[in-house]
């Protein structure tokens, strides 16, 4: 695996994990999927497991490709970067519609 590809993979896996976790948060589930009810418990549990697996996979790619020190550092920083990216994505997807604004408790 080339350097760039490994880094991109680490970021993508972290992003996927946080995207899944974002859906388990009631507010974002309501905005993005179904406003009427909370995310089903089974789905929340599965999303959490999937997110944990993605994060573990990202860590393993980072450590295998960059070594323990650089890999761990890259993974921790990629976590933050991916979480910020997911937050930006959630904002972009939900802030646009007028219904979202009205439905939100002020």
């Amino acid at each position: 695996m080339s350097d760039a590809l490994a880094v991109v993979t680490v970021f993508a896996l972290c992003g996927l994990a946080f995207a899944g976790l974002a859906l388990t948060v009631g507010r974002h589930w309501g905005d993005l999927v179904d406003r009427r009810r909370d995310p089903p418990r089974r789905l929340v549990a599965r999303l959490r497991v999937a997110a944990a697996l993605c994060l573990a996979a990202a860590l393993s790619v980072a450590v295998r490709h960059e070594g323990v020190g650089f890999g761990l550092l890259l993974w921790v920083l990629a976590l933050s970067a991916a979480a910020l990216a997911v937050a930006a994505g959630v904002t972009a997807l939900t802030a646009g519609t007028a219904t979202t604004r009205n439905a939100k408790p002020r």
Binding site: L21, V25, L73, L77, V86, A95
Partner: protein, 531 residues
């Protein structure tokens, strides 16, 4: 985990944490902004140096390791002789060229004073650069505020950094819905909520980096700012502690002249002892003396740790005098220091450090702005002196700092090389412009600090910097791409992005000001994200 948290953090504790969090932020926010912003610039200090020192833009095509093997005796020593100019040499050092700095940097102490300069890898001395650049101005400003006497700057920066750590911890305690708000940024609606969301997002999501960078920042200078252990075990002699911990070696001049042994065999021996790796710095102490010492530091580009593994040679015989590996705790200290300094060659990590450093600026800036907005609600009619002071401070440390930095970079391209003490004129301009922008902010803060006016200034200056680099060096973006001069291209690109963002923010602020009175500051904080 969340149930455990609920049990641990009571409402009373949360309320108690709010006061120190708020007031540490309001009083030290401006200083912390300076520290975080200059630290972020320091991540790309070498690249900004290339931009500010056009003569050193040599061998950008990767010629920093010439075909002929680099030789200390053939490439470095003649430059040292030229810098000494016949005066008696005492000590000198040379930072050797590497991937990010294609030139070597030398400093020579002679009987007749100190002189320094830069030279190409093949030993051609370059004309004086006439600037402190990022490595000698922005970077020291980050950790010492240029207050060297008695380490005063170190103390102030460390104090602010402990406050930053306390602010991070108390912030996490105060924040009631960490998991519920984990990804939440409500960009619409009330400005106060948007500011608080952004404050929480940068604080929570980038928390590992902020904790790490604040902690390791103090770790580097720990023996200076917490010398209790050094006082107890080394009678307060920090130098002796460092010699012991890092395996340094020193001895006084003997007074008997003796020639220096060839350096290249020492370099080869050092590489063998390091088990590979390159040399980063060569020091010659007591040059030309029978007690001369040659010290070689290892390049740390391939590792996280800042352990430079110094090897000390006898300057006359070339025998190894000392090569001591640090113990496990000191090695940990070097690792923590290395995490902060980020001297490693790793571009994704370098960009993440830069961006997360700026996210620290956003964290501090949104904190200040949130305080201002919240107070504005309380004090509906008249804005008090305290509010105006914090407003001016926030403005001076957000846009004012940008203006000063950009003004210095513009001056760097405008001042002719013949100006006496050119580097000091540049640095003086930085401080003058900064003070000027704070005064401007203080005078113009009525209902709001003068965000729009200062954003226009940022946009104009950043744009001017890109243009001036083109005009004075002939290096426009297309040429930089053709040459593969990524450092200069990168600095120009970030400047252009700054100009564009500041222009958009300024335009929006001006529109809003003519329309609605309040609300513009959220875009303000987005602006700091890009510089």
């Amino acid at each position: 985990m969340s149930t455990k948290k609920r049990a641990l953090i009571s409402p009373a504790l949360r309320a108690a944490m709010l006061w120190p969090h708020t007031w540490a932020g309001v009083t030290l926010g401006g200083l912390l902004m300076l520290i975080f912003f200059m630290g972020s610039l320091a991540v790309f200090a070498d690249e900004i140096d290339r931009w500010m020192m056009p003569d050193t833009r040599v061998g950008a095509v990767g010629a920093h390791r010439p075909d002929a093997p680099f030789s200390l005796d053939r490439n470095v020593l003649p430059v040292v002789e030229r810098l000494a100019a016949g005066r008696g040499l005492r000590d000198w050092y040379a930072k050797l060229p590497d991937g990010r700095r294609p030139v070597m940097e030398l400093r020579v102490r002679t009987d007749g004073g100190v002189s320094g300069g830069m030279a190409t890898a093949d030993g051609r001395l370059l004309p004086p650069v006439g600037t402190l650049g990022a490595t000698s101005f922005f970077y020291p400003l980050h950790y010492s505020l240029h207050l060297r006497a008695g380490f005063v700057g170190y103390w102030i920066v460390s104090f602010a950094t402990v406050a930053m750590l306390a602010g991070l911890i108390s912030g996490i305690i105060i924040h009631a819905r960490i998991f519920k708000d984990f990804f939440t940024f409500r960009s619409w609606g009330q400005l106060r909520r948007s500011l608080l969301d952004l404050h929480n997002l940068t604080g929570v999501l980038v928390l590992p980096f902020h904790l790490m960078i604040s902690f390791t920042g103090i770790v580097i200078i720990l023996p200076m700012v917490l010398p209790a252990g050094v006082n107890a075990l080394y009678d307060g002699d920090v130098q002796r502690f460092y010699d012991d911990a890092l395996g340094n070696y020193s001895r006084p001049r003997s007074g008997t002249p003796a020639p220096l042994a060839p350096l290249d065999p020492m370099l080869a021996e050092a590489k063998r002892l390091w088990g590979g790796g390159e040399a980063a710095v060569v020091f010659v102490i007591n040059a030309g003396d029978a007690a001369s010492i040659v010290r070689l530091n290892r390049d740390t580009g391939d590792r996280l740790s800042l352990d430079v593994e110094p090897i000390f040679f006898d300057g006359v015989t070339g025998a190894v005098l000392k090569h001591q590996r640090p113990g496990p705790v000191v090695a940990t200290h070097r690792l923590l220091s290395g995490l902060h300094i980020a001297a490693f060659d790793h571009w994704p990590l370098r960009w993440l450090y830069f961006l997360f450093g700026l996210s620290g600026c956003v964290l501090i800036g949104t904190g200040l702005l949130y305080w201002l907005e919240k107070r504005r609600v309380v004090e509906t009619a008249v804005v008090g002196l305290g509010w105006r002071s914090v407003g001016a401070l926030a403005c001076g440390s957000i846009t004012g700092l940008l203006i000063a930095t950009l003004a210095m970079m513009a001056a760097n391209r405008l001042l002719p090389a013949t100006v006496p003490s050119r580097e000091l004129v540049e640095a003086g301009l930085f401080f003058l412009v900064w003070i000027g922008s704070v005064i401007h902010a203080a005078l113009r803060t009525r209902r709001d600090p003068p965000w729009a006016a200062q954003c226009w200034a940022v946009a104009a200056l950043a744009g001017a910097c890109v243009g001036l680099n083109w005009l004075t060096t002939g290096e426009h973006p297309l040429r930089a791409i053709a040459l593969g001069d990524w450092p200069v291209l990168g600095v120009d690109a970030v400047l252009a992005l700054t100009a564009w963002t500041a222009w958009r923010v300024a335009r929006r602020l001006s529109h809003r000001l003519s329309g609605r009175r309040d609300a513009p500051a959220v875009t303000m904080t987005e602006a700091t994200d890009h510089v």
